[in-house]
């Protein structure tokens, strides 16, 4: 079965990004497909590579990046939500005249259409948020 996953909250503040990770991992380990993970609202903040949590805490961004690499996950950050909140890839940073970017490996920035398309293409769409 094909899943779409939506993550609406940022890392650490709400448990949503953790639960979504555990759920997505379980989906994949059970042999299902994940069509896309879409990060919206504060969820875009999961995709910053500048996060440095304490050594004895989980590294939420890295967990997601590693899952994406292992399963070739499509992880999309909403461009409109990301611009408001300051998450940038190289292209966007250049376009906005910024001196650097902060997106983490395995994430890509794209439009809201990718969320709708995930709803159309997936057998199940599951949202995690606050």
């Amino acid at each position: 079965m094909k899943f779409g996953i939506v993550v609406n909250e940022g890392p650490y503040t709400h448990q949503a990004a953790d639960t979504a990770y555990k759920f997505t991992k379980a989906v994949l380990e059970k042999g299902h497909d994940v069509h896309r993970v879409f990060f919206y609202h504060d969820g875009v903040n999961v995709g910053t590579r500048m996060s440095v949590p304490p050594q004895d805490d989980r590294h939420i961004q890295r967990n997601w990046s590693e899952l994406a690499e292992k399963y070739d996950l499509d992880m999309v950050i909403c461009i409109a939500a990301a611009q408001r909140r300051g998450i940038m890839d190289e292209n966007e940073a250049k376009r906005q005249g910024l001196d650097g970017d902060n997106i983490a490996p395995g994430f890509r920035i794209s439009g809201l259409g990718q969320l709708i398309e995930a709803g159309v293409q997936s057998d199940r769409l599951v949202t995690f948020g606050d």
């Binding site: 079965m1 609406n8 059970k30």
Partner: protein
């Protein structure tokens, strides 16, 4: 078409559980995750609300119960405990998922 409803917020702080129960249909399931698992404690107003749903299956996420120190002895009757695998199975079993954010 059947719905798996998920709730993540404490019913003592937020109205989502109450609204969810009021909009669930016969044959649906409700899964409490994150802070919503406090709604599974026996003797509370939340547990009473959950028990009112007719022909609605009630689940709570075990890992979230353990994190919060809620052993099975504290839970109301009729609440089924699942882990993340069980969460996935529920999402497969029901036709769609609705998150009460």
């Amino acid at each position: 078409m059947s719905i798996l409803h998920t709730i993540s917020k404490s019913p003592f702080q937020n109205q989502s559980l109450s609204s969810c129960v009021a909009h669930a249909s016969s044959g649906d399931a409700i899964l409490m995750i994150e802070d919503a698992v406090y709604g599974a404690v026996s003797g509370t107003a939340a547990a009473a609300q959950l028990a009112e749903g007719e022909n609605i299956s009630i689940y709570a996420l075990g890992p979230d119960l353990s994190a919060r120190g809620l052993g099975e002895a504290k839970l109301a009757e009729g609440i089924n405990i699942v882990d993340y695998d069980g969460f996935v199975e529920l999402a497969v079993e029901y036709d769609k998922t609705q998150s009460w954010l």
